[in-house]
Subunit: 200 residues, 4 copies
DNA sequence: AGTTAAGCGAGACGGTACGTCTTGTCTTCAC
DNA sequence: GTGAAGACAAGACGTACCGTCTCGCTTAACT
């Protein structure tokens, strides 16, 4: 905070808000989810606990807000070339995002916590995962319109077949998700759905 | 406990062990992961906290032990008919296990917690998930031997393509996992790998 | 607590402080020293354990504070008549205080615990016993000034000779301390120091 | 224990008994009363807890037994010279015993604990303090018979007047108990009771 | 000589209290 | 009227001892 004001009648402090979000993010990457406590965030952000409780119902809401629009920024599928290439690029980006980026760490932690917390699960899905899924089905629908994929394709199932194995490896098996793996996923998907494109 | 002994040279009390595992399981399904406390387990199991700490390093270890061999019991893929039918049955069983069974609830909670706890992740994978994966790759390899699947199949990737979307729906999107979905997964998989069997 | 505030910038809650002291006192008289536990005090006072640990290093500090100024209130020697009468009254009051009053019970418990705890012993002496001794020597010095006692009297030893046997009976032998006994103590003391007053 | 037997039908092991008493004594002098735990005694004595509980109801019983006949050995008043000299020697010995000897430490701890434990108080008095008092009154009675003290002397009160101030200093004020103090006690006592001996 | 039974070391057991930690609420004061 | 400070009630944490118990070994006394 530093030179920031200490309370005023202008409404909430943007400086405090950002300090909290950053502190939460830092604590998560440095000490893991258990190290993210409201007390710790307040201390690191130089903010009173009450300020946190005033604006966020719980610490997961802070992380949700910290996640922000990172998914849209990092994971909007390209629409630049043939569907095969765009999908390969998207799955590679997804794998990289989930395993190596800071917001990916936040997302993994939230998905993990969502297994214990149905309310968080609902918010996470409606605010972050559903829009992301929308971006992905949209790209597939455009490929259908372009005649690259069959007209009777179920885009929901299709997305699951593509991203599901990536999430599975990240969340469950912990195995590395290499380009060879994601590329093979795309190839298998296209082969199964009789793509006119030849897989590499 | 009742007639059970209260400590002796034989080592640990089997009655206490079972009471703890059952109490942990009950608390998880009744109150969720946050409701599983060592204090609560001890109280419900009629066991001293020290007895719990003597044998389990943490509460997740209790859940891990409570999971026991449930995966092997519920999720060993059948080898009774053509690979298509066995896979369809297996994915249906997996979906049912994850979404509706008590041990499935435990597994989901542990996978969730594993996102915050690398040590638990490692144990969960080596003790439960790797053997399960082994059972699944084995079934695929037998299909390869039987000529039902191509000889150059990568069984690891194949398993990911099959079960990955199921876990994804359960853990991430929360969408229902109906037989139609899992059957379609199997069909797509077989189509992609040029199975000689005709999908239904 | 009831309508009391729950923490604020003024510092500690006076209501909590008093509830703790009273609970400790009650527990001591009802269940004895072993029945005085931080847990029990907290429960009875309707106070969080942390609040107790914030302000008192240990349970004996609570009792020490509960003792407060009871000694000064109950055991300040009168200066109303001849030294013989004042001393007789004082020793009778001391015996009554030690054996039959609530703060006397607290003092006995603390003196007992002080045998196991040098730090408590030091605090008990400096905060309670030394001032009490001061009050007693002062009365003797006034008697010296009044010519009732010899000028070369060692007031420290004199106090020990008077109150020592009373404490001894209370703490060690457990024998009753009747007025006849304390009166005889005063008589012996005055006779030994050649008082001009005639003992009764 | 070493070469000691491990149970037989001769009855209890003397080696175990002595090891327990010594361990208790050591722990008391080394770590204070709070450091005397049944667990700790068992560990240091190389003895099973059950062996302790078989023979002693509680840890204070161990200390009581450890005290043994130390009082009789150290604190039997001499009967060698004039009462004045014997009393002076006795009070000096008492002061030394209480403040500087190991059994004195045990006695102080027990008297302290007796303030919290009426049952211990009763046993301590009947087994140790009453006999000791008996030894002291006896010496006074012999002085009465020898004409050194008046025939109407109340020996109980007299003992209290002599030893009370010593215990008081040791247990309550913690002040040093020097020979000058105890000698003055004897002198005052003899002067008050019209001794034919001239005080020094 | 084999059996019996008591005392033993060992240590797990159900408990209680410890002192610490974090949560989410509340109150006050500075700005 | 926000925000920093921080006390509060609540309650779980993991530890230390308590006193009880069961066990298998050792050993003398009694078949």
């Amino acid at each position: 905070m530093g030179d920031g004001h200490h309370g005023n009648r202008h409404g909430r402090s943007e400086a405090a808000r950002e300090a909290v979000l950053e502190a939460a993010d830092d604590l998560l990457t440095e000490r893991g989810f258990a190290g993210v406590t409201v007390e710790g965030i307040a201390a690191r952000a130089g903010v009173a606990k009450q300020t946190i409780y005033r604006w966020w119902p719980s610490k997961v809401d802070i992380l949700l807000e910290a996640l922000g629009s990172d998914l849209a920024q990092h994971l909007t599928p390209a629409d630049r070339g043939p569907i095969a290439e765009d999908l390969r690029a998207h799955l590679r980006a997804l794998a990289r995002f989930l395993t190596r980026s800071d917001p990916g760490t936040v997302l993994r932690a939230l998905v993990g916590q969502a297994q214990h917390d149905p309310e968080l699960a609902a918010r996470l899905r409606s605010e972050q995962l559903a829009p992301q899924r929308e971006r992905e089905t949209e790209r597939l629908l455009r490929a259908v319109e372009a005649g690259e994929l069959p007209a009777d394709l179920d885009p929901g199932s299709a997305v699951d077949q593509l991203v599901g194995p990536v999430y599975y490896r990240v969340l469950v098996t912990g195995e590395a998700v290499l380009p060879a793996f994601t590329d093979a996923l795309v190839d298998g998907f296209l082969r199964a759905h009789g793509s006119v494109e030849k897989p590499s």
